[in-house]
């Protein structure tokens, strides 16, 4: 319990800032929707001049784009970029805290099992991510409702939000895995940003080459937002693939951390 609270406290301030950024982006981007909507005819004209691949690469779908929820899906590309950066930094920062600060000996020589240490850390990450997603979902709902009178499917909206949560879980557990397996960790931001942008590039490649296999390696592509809006549900195949990845990374982290030799610094 003490480790859980300690981690929660250590992570609180930076994550409140992340939440503030995420919610601001979601809300204020939605405020631009009426302007887009009013100029839709001109914009369709403009968009049609681009090659289709370019539009796809940047997440544009002209048909969906002009509904409020469709516009939100477009905004989500930026939200997800921020959200996944937050998640991996949180995961890496929390599981690698002792590694970075060289306090591993401090925590390991306490009367607590190694697996309990990691469990407390993982739970504290989970609490922060759940909190982040509740606030982000509420703000986004307010944002969408404030700019459109047209009815939209709450289920579709929630499913879209769930896919963001899913993405965060995957990046957070990747962060945990790295924090546990690294031998050395100087600073968190460069590693985290490198990985997120790496996957973002993979995501763009998928859009350009349209090879279905790339999707499995690109968390940003697990769930196609526009098809969620149309279907009102997440693709089962990728829900399962995501769960397999999550479990794999988390279970491996626990086993590895339990057996790891803690070397002198």
């Amino acid at each position: 319990m003490n480790i859980f609270l300690f981690e929660l406290k250590s992570n609180l301030k930076s994550n409140l800032i992340w939440i503030l950024i995420l919610c601001s982006v979601a809300y204020f981007f939605m405020l631009m929707y009426p302007a887009f909507y009013q100029n839709s005819a001109d914009l369709i004209e403009v968009f049609n001049r681009y090659p289709k691949e370019v539009l796809v690469a940047f997440g544009f779908d002209i048909d969906q784009f002009f509904s409020a929820i469709g516009f939100y899906c477009f905004v989500l590309i930026y939200i997800e970029l921020i959200a996944s950066t937050q998640a991996i930094m949180l995961g890496l920062g929390t599981s690698g805290r002792e590694l970075r600060l060289r306090t591993t000996e401090f925590i390991i020589t306490k009367p607590v099992k190694r697996t309990s240490i990691l469990m407390a850390k993982v739970l504290s990450i989970l609490v922060i991510l759940v909190g982040t997603n509740i606030l982000l979902t509420l703000t986004s709902y307010l944002g969408i409702s404030s700019v459109t009178l047209a009815p939209f499917s709450t289920q579709s909206f929630l499913m879209v939000c769930l896919s963001t949560f899913y993405l965060q879980l995957i990046f957070a557990s990747l962060g945990v895995l790295l924090g546990v397996t690294f031998r050395r960790l100087r600073s968190i931001a460069p590693v985290s940003l490198g990985i997120v942008f790496g996957f973002f590039v993979v995501n763009m490649l998928k859009a350009i080459f349209d090879d279905p296999w790339i999707r499995y390696f690109s968390p940003f592509q697990f769930f196609d937002k526009y098809s969620i809006v149309l279907m009102g549900s997440l693709e089962l195949e990728f829900v399962l693939w995501g769960i397999a990845l999550l479990l794999g990374m988390v279970v491996f982290s626990f086993i590895y951390f339990d057996r790891k030799d803690i070397h002198a610094v």
Binding site: N2, T109, P111, K113, I262
Partner: protein, 292 residues
């Protein structure tokens, strides 16, 4: 009952040696010194005892419990002070100590206050702003605040000024009188000489000698230094003399044979000056230290 017991404890880091077949048995209430040069395997042994690393073979028990399996139970009664202390950033000393205390089911407040007063540590300081020596003092409090039954110290005195070092040793002695067993690792022999009842000497991963401090010293080693008109010849040297050195008219050596024989031999010489002293450990151990 032995508090610490290791049997054929061995650790390899890949192919490079950590320690080989270390057998130690440390009794309750002892202050046990662990001496050896850098890289001899002192820290490796301690890290194995603390389950920070896993042994390649052999076993170690503390309080009769297995160091690898029952570490959670063992750690309740262990206080550890490493040679270099690191802490979480952005914390006050008291926050850190309270966090450390929160792992034990004990009220440690009084002990923290008492130790902080004795070591002259300001509990309201930010840890980031502390000097090396002051961080070390926080480490001492952190290691002792739960009144552990076993105190493990890995080259702990670096950064402490001589006065603080004395206070620290006094505290350790008091903890020992309270019933705590102490394992004190060091490469500084005089520290060990001041504090310990028994010592193990480790060299290149192997224990070369375990003995009581008293018998190490009383082994009738005598430090002999004589000045003569003519430099003494090699023929004066016998099997009871080690570290035999001749510099011009001065000859010095350590002697561990029968004193009467020595006196008889010396009486044959025309002596200008003679000096017989008890050697310090440094001189006795020097030949353990030198690589063969």
């Amino acid at each position: 009952m032995a508090i610490i017991e290791t049997k054929k404890l061995t650790k390899y880091y890949g192919k490079s040696r950590g320690i080989i077949d270390v057998d130690l048995s440390i009794e309750e209430g002892e202050i046990f010194g662990f001496i050896g040069p850098n890289g001899a395997g002192k820290s490796t042994t301690i890290r194995l005892l603390l389950s920070l690393i896993k042994p390649s073979s052999g076993s170690a028990t503390i309080f009769g419990l297995d160091c690898q399996k029952d570490y959670q139970e063992i750690h309740k009664e262990i206080g550890y002070l490493p040679s270099e202390v690191f802490y979480y950033d952005n914390m006050k000393v008291k926050d850190l100590l309270n966090y450390s205390a929160s792992f034990y089911n004990k009220d440690c407040k009084a002990k923290i206050k008492e130790l902080a007063a004795r070591l002259d540590v300001d509990l309201n300081m930010k840890i980031d702003n502390l000097s090396y020596g002051n961080k070390k003092k926080v480490g001492i409090i952190q290691g002792l605040l739960h009144s552990p039954k076993l105190i493990i110290l890995d080259e702990p005195t670096g950064g402490l000024d001589p006065l603080m070092q004395q206070t620290f040793f006094d505290i350790l002695k008091e903890e020992n009188e309270r019933g705590a067993t102490v394992l004190f690792s060091s490469h500084i022999l005089s520290e060990v000489q001041k504090l310990c009842d028994r010592v193990a000497i480790i060299k290149e991963g192997k224990i070369v000698r375990i003995d009581t401090m008293a018998s190490l010293k009383e082994n009738t080693y005598l430090k002999v230094s004589v000045d003569t008109e003519e430099p003494l010849s090699e023929s004066f040297k016998d099997n009871n003399m080690i570290n035999y050195t001749v510099v011009d008219g001065n000859t010095s050596f350590l002697y561990n044979g029968n004193v009467n024989d020595l006196m008889h031999k010396l009486s044959q010489l025309n002596l200008l000056r003679i000096n017989l002293t008890e050697p310090d450990l440094e001189e006795i151990f020097m030949h353990y230290y030198v690589k063969e």
